[in-house]
Symmetry: C2
Subunit: 139 residues, 2 copies
DNA sequence: GTGTCTGCAAAATATTTGCAAATTT
DNA sequence: AAATTTGCAAATATTTTGCAGACAC
């Protein structure tokens, strides 16, 4: 309900979804396009964008807004949170966390009708932690 | 330490920061540019972008990655969380929440050296809640 | 057959950058 | 005076869109 009109099951859509689900890296549209291209030579970037929007619309995937100016997409729809490295921009899924960290009494906020929440932890990933250079942060 | 080299105190930087702090709306660079322009007729959008990056770099402001393809900026640096309306895209600050909702034992994650976390609540804002149309979501 | 979807290309949007002149320290 | 910053314009990067033909149902 609410969404999902008459959608068709195209080869392009299938492959985009499959490839996204294979990846753990929360790729950008352009990155996913490169992967999909290996299987569908003639697919266009526009098609990837259109399908990602459509899939996000019907909750088959998640659209993330975290690491920079490019949107990132996540094939995992089970509720989960993210860890983002402030140095290299990596984004990892976190499934370990219990989903009810935030108690119900905190959910009545500012007149919002709250449907859920997402936690973004930030810090240094394993790699960047070890080689803690002087390099520039953020990007 | 870590950041903040020899930075200068320019009129443009001051005004950008002042105007951003006045706003509660988490404006995009372009929106803030419009505000700043009223005080500095000749300022350019490029200068706004450069200063926002610089200010975010030295933690004078926050760069948010939430609502769409445009980055949004927040003049408030006290730790706080956000509520985002999934219908109209509005973003509100939440100061009510205690900052230690997530317990320490949850902070040892996936080999990350966690420095902090941010919670994004999502749902319908007061306005969109009342007129719960059939219209399209997300945008 | 009809409506959805695709590829392609162009358009629109968003952000970054080179450079000479201006400003800050 | 030296280093940083600005305005401007051009270059990039990212995302969206128009359209005719192809495809799914």
């Amino acid at each position: 309900m609410e969404t999902a009109p008459n959608q068709r099951n195209t080869k392009q859509r299938q492959v985009i979804l499959e490839e996204l689900r294979k990846l753990k890296s929360h790729p950008t549209a352009a990155e996913l396009y490169q992967k999909v291209r290996k299987r569908l030579k003639k697919i266009s970037l526009g098609t990837v964008y259109r399908n990602l929007e459509l899939l996000a619309g019907n909750k088959s995937i998640q659209k993330l807004y975290m690491s920079g100016s490019e949107a990132r997409f996540d094939g995992e729809t089970k509720p989960h949170h993210h860890a983002r490295c402030t140095k290299c921009g990596a984004v990892d899924d976190l499934f370990e966390l219990p989903q009810n960290i935030v108690q119900q009494r905190h959910m009545n906020l500012d007149d919002y009708d709250i449907r859920g929440y997402r936690i973004e932890f930030y810090g240094l990933c394993r790699k960047c932690k070890s080689r803690k250079q002087t390099a520039k942060t953020t990007k």
